[in-house]
Symmetry: D2
Subunit: 367 residues, 4 copies
């Protein structure tokens, strides 16, 4: 009950810290019969990896997964998928200072307040390296979703004041997104973002941004009506990622100033029929972000998350020691000046995990 499992039917449980031997990830509930190998996991793990470009930290983590179980003769066999990651580039000496001082913006203090002590090496369990398990599990989820024609894609929508115009997110390809190291599919905005991140890094600072995520091919009917609304589970999934301070879908916070007469999406006939209702129907606009009453409508699911500027910045910052005395800390180590580019695969993974869970739940929601 300490919160290291995600999902109800497609369940991911993880353990591990950044400066121990490595990470364990167990996926329970993946149906048997899905073709799967390490090669399916590598692309997203590579996208999450540090050191991909000058925009991201140069740590050389070993991000090669070992699948220990759950796959037999190339297919999932219904038993739990056990995945391992070994830690290699630990450089513990980089982190000795944080044993005594609380880094601003980090979980050092709250861990001590919760448990009485903490693994102070590299953030311990609160290290973002933990997302390696999520990305691996998300890759399995994506592969399963693909069997049902569902695709999840994320990209950088905003960094600092630079906002990318993306007229039709559903037309994007993975290549569009991967075209630049900043993972913004609008080339002009991408260039501005890169320039901005470079400037921020030179200024020994960091910068925040917004990631947009889009799921296409989602049939109407995913999501449960009351507490486990699809929007609620997506919100939880994405807010469980480090550095996320906000989640919105469809018109999002823009609804605060909207009127019902313009905010409602009008239903119109559609070309093809989806869902148990047996009618061909869609909405003219998508201010509802593909979810009505917390249940997917068949329209693309579109959401956005706000990511704070990296808390670890190469500048001295005021703080206190673990004894409560004022001091200063200079957080060492190699840190991304902007988390957004590497966030994209993490966000996709969490969205995929939610969709798979609800896809399985939808299989048993009616006779």
């Amino acid at each position: 009950m300490a919160g290291n499992t995600f999902g109800k039917l497609f369940r991911v449980t993880t353990a591990g810290v950044s400066h121990g031997p490595g990470y364990l990830c167990i996926i329970d509930g993946c149906p048997a019969g899905l073709e799967l190998s390490v090669d399916d996991l590598l692309p997203d793990l590579q996208r999450r990896r540090p050191g991909q470009s000058r925009l991201t930290t140069q740590r050389d983590e070993s991000d090669i997964p070992e699948i220990w179980s759950g796959v037999f003769e190339g297919r999932t066999d219904g038993t739990p998928i056990g995945i391992l990651f070994r830690n290699t580039d630990q450089r513990s000496t980089d982190y000795t200072d944080i044993q005594e001082k609380y880094r601003p913006g980090h979980a050092d203090y709250t861990f001590d307040a919760k448990y009485g002590f903490r693994d102070y090496r590299g953030g311990g369990r609160s290290s973002a390296r933990e997302t390696i398990c999520r990305v691996a599990a998300g890759a399995v989820a994506k592969k399963l979703l693909a069997r049902f024609g569902i695709r999840v894609l994320g990209y950088v929508k905003q960094i600092g004041p630079v906002i990318a115009d993306i007229p039709d997110p559903t037309a994007l390809t993975l290549e569009d997104i991967e075209a630049t190291p900043v993972r913004c599919p609008n080339p002009e905005a991408a260039q501005q973002m890169i320039t901005l991140i470079d400037a921020v890094r030179k200024d020994r600072d960091s910068i925040g941004g917004i990631c947009e995520l889009v799921a296409t091919g989602v049939p109407p009917g995913l999501g449960e009506p009351v507490f486990d609304k699809l929007k609620a589970d997506l919100g939880k999934a994405l807010l469980s990622l480090p550095a996320v301070l906000g989640f919105e879908y469809g018109a999002g916070f823009g609804v605060a100033t909207a009127r019902g007469s313009t905010n409602n999406d009008v239903f119109v006939p559609a070309g093809s029929c989806q869902g148990a209702s047996g009618v061909a129907i869609q909405t003219e606009t998508n201010r509802h972000g593909g979810m009505l009453g917390g249940i997917s409508s068949g329209m693309p699911i579109v959401c956005r998350v706000a990511i704070k500027p990296t808390s670890s910045i190469p500048r001295p910052q005021r703080t206190v020691t673990k004894h409560g005395e004022p001091t200063e800390i200079l957080v060492k180590g190699r840190h991304d000046p902007c988390l957004l580019p590497r966030f994209v695969p993490m966000g996709e993974a969490m969205m995929a995990l939610v969709l798979v869970d609800h896809l399985l739940r939808s299989q048993i929601s009616r006779l």
Copy 2:
């Protein structure tokens, strides 16, 4: 697994529809020994009730709970708390039209797509009357939190373009909030909001807004490090409410344009000591909204949710029939032109449920 239970240790399960005999609510996991009676539930139920003012719908729902179990001689006794609400003012005839046509912005179509058919009377299970159970359960949660010195308050922060300045949310009292029917504790903004809502209603339209929620007295250490981060569970809880399209905490979406050097909250010594770390510490600012690494920091927890304009507006709207043919619908019934005032107790209830759950979890997180 159909999502009608909320919480892990303090679990709320509900059933019922707006136009059946009534609602059932079972709270499982409330510790024994809490003084509790129907009188503890009434104030928040009254705040949630329709017909409180001209700003809210004039339906006369009977919102008197019956506690059938779980309380003995004035105290919770450890067994599940069973609560009933009877439906009285059903006026089914108001809703006959929606059997054939899909209301824009509602869950009519998505229910049909999910289950093949639906209880079309008054929204059935997707009716916001379902929140009556949440508010009752939230009142129990609030009473339990109060035993630990924790208080949850919500208020209207924004309606349409009117944004209320609330310099110190932690200084607010329930009376400040209840002073106006719009539940905005800034009197000047409240008056503007009331004027706006009146104008919108006369215009046969509706308007959205933002509700801010604040929890004070929360000790550091609530929340689990990875998937069940406090921020994630708060996000899920609030996004599970009808009409919510966005959630943010602390600096929220503002972090997109922030730099680490100004976004990080600096740790400083504090007057008194909280949590297992045994040190007296706080932050100078609260851009982190009281949560670091998903764990409470001891600072006030501050979050905001975006609520869309009421989908049911007294105007004809284009839509389709359940057979997919274009038509027009005029949604009858009495509907709030702005959901915000009645949303406040719902938001508080969900926040309280999350905090109680994590409070119980924190009791067993260390020896």
Copy 3:
């Protein structure tokens, strides 16, 4: 987390005590589209009811369920099924003595030890009247199972020294079982049991026995390999009923003296094919009780539970007061001299709930 919910996909949550206003039962996860009405619940509720014959207690409980939600136009609609039972014949005055003294064999003392106090009226939450909710939920489960060709039947196998020979349990009909008030389908044994129970009652005593339960039509493949083995979930379900002290399936405790060479059930070709393996296969004998590796084999599932003699007997018994002082108690009220006849529908209900849960789980175990 206080244990008032049973099942993972087909979830039953209950509240209520024997001497409060009544009981609440919420079934979450029943697929939409199942024809259901109160009439489906009545037969098993009638079988569970006190006062059916001179063998059972003459209390006149009102066991008429009210379905408040989850059924629309005669079919389950995917939303939670809310069921209510009102208590009518409470006679609280029968129970005043037990406020001060601990009844031997009952949960009075353990409730006080757990919660510090208890609802002393009629056993409160530990009253066997709580099984009314289980039997109602079990009737829904049975109806769903019947859609898949699965049938659950129980009967009295043994009372005291009288053991009924039932050569082929799979050939039994409900009528065979209901032919006598003791619910033993072997007429000769049934008569001996009735005579025995009459003698025991005249002797102001009570007597134990064994109930056997058989599920037929269960396809191979239900049950999960490791912790949620079908045998484990059946064991938990039946042991969660009051007065059950033992559970065994197939050869049961008889395996202690068996050898592998005779205990193994040999596989042989079968007439028809079941399960994903696509082969027609069965076992020659059924010492494995229809489960291998905790997964159903396609053979009938056969298990037995041991039920203690009623703890409430109309004799003075030594005990202590709640202050720990030695005293004597004469438990008043009307109590069955033998629990077995009324246990049968309870046991069937729990078996049905487990099978439905695993049936749903099996729907998502492979692509």
Copy 4:
């Protein structure tokens, strides 16, 4: 939802198969602050290990755990405990025959029926080697229980017709049990059991038996009143182990022939006070096996499980191929002629896991 997690607050999730790289075990919910090292796990793992004596199989499994996370500077730190076991002595060639033929008494056929195919190497996920994770997790649970004065011990009560008389199980020490390789603390019976097992092995056969488990120091008040009764969770835990066909506690199946007047355990004053009731009380006898109403009474918890004779015997057995054709199989490999001696630590582990879970639950059951 595929059943690879056990427990609600102290949760154990496992993955792995006998002939893959190894096993993963994640314990989530262990409170921070418990002293723990690999040395705490080794004794029970050694007791579970094959090849301890001529009574057990001579496979040389490597049973050395690696703790990858959750322990920092010698104490659990509140984060999930990740444990790894590597497989070394796989000898895959021993198992090629079982790819085509279904072994009687094993899960080969039911896996195929469930998933459509299976990992046929050494039983795959159904291999009893999976219990290595349970025993490791159980060792952690035992250490936590010891902090609260609770001890769990198991021993062999019966093998074939040899029944050991154990007058006072609560007086036993671990040394008494480990004195003989058969783990029966009655020396005379132990010798007879050893002689019997030797004879059975020479006869190329196997034999079943009964394991008794005793928990002492359990405070009154553990267990939840309705579905999660302590007896129910113990039953599930033990029935989830391979080869278990029956579970009983206290008087067990003996209650079938008992009368209430002699079966009820009389309450009497006790020397010291336990539990929230604040009174010093115990029962004169313990036919209730330490649980009343599914809640611990403070008396020793005593239960028994029936274990079938090993299904793998070194004799040809009739069976069918996976295509349903009659054939014969000679199961190769090294197998225990009697599972009982190695079962003891497995049974203890599962009992410990249940008690720890309920111990944590009891921490939050009253204010």
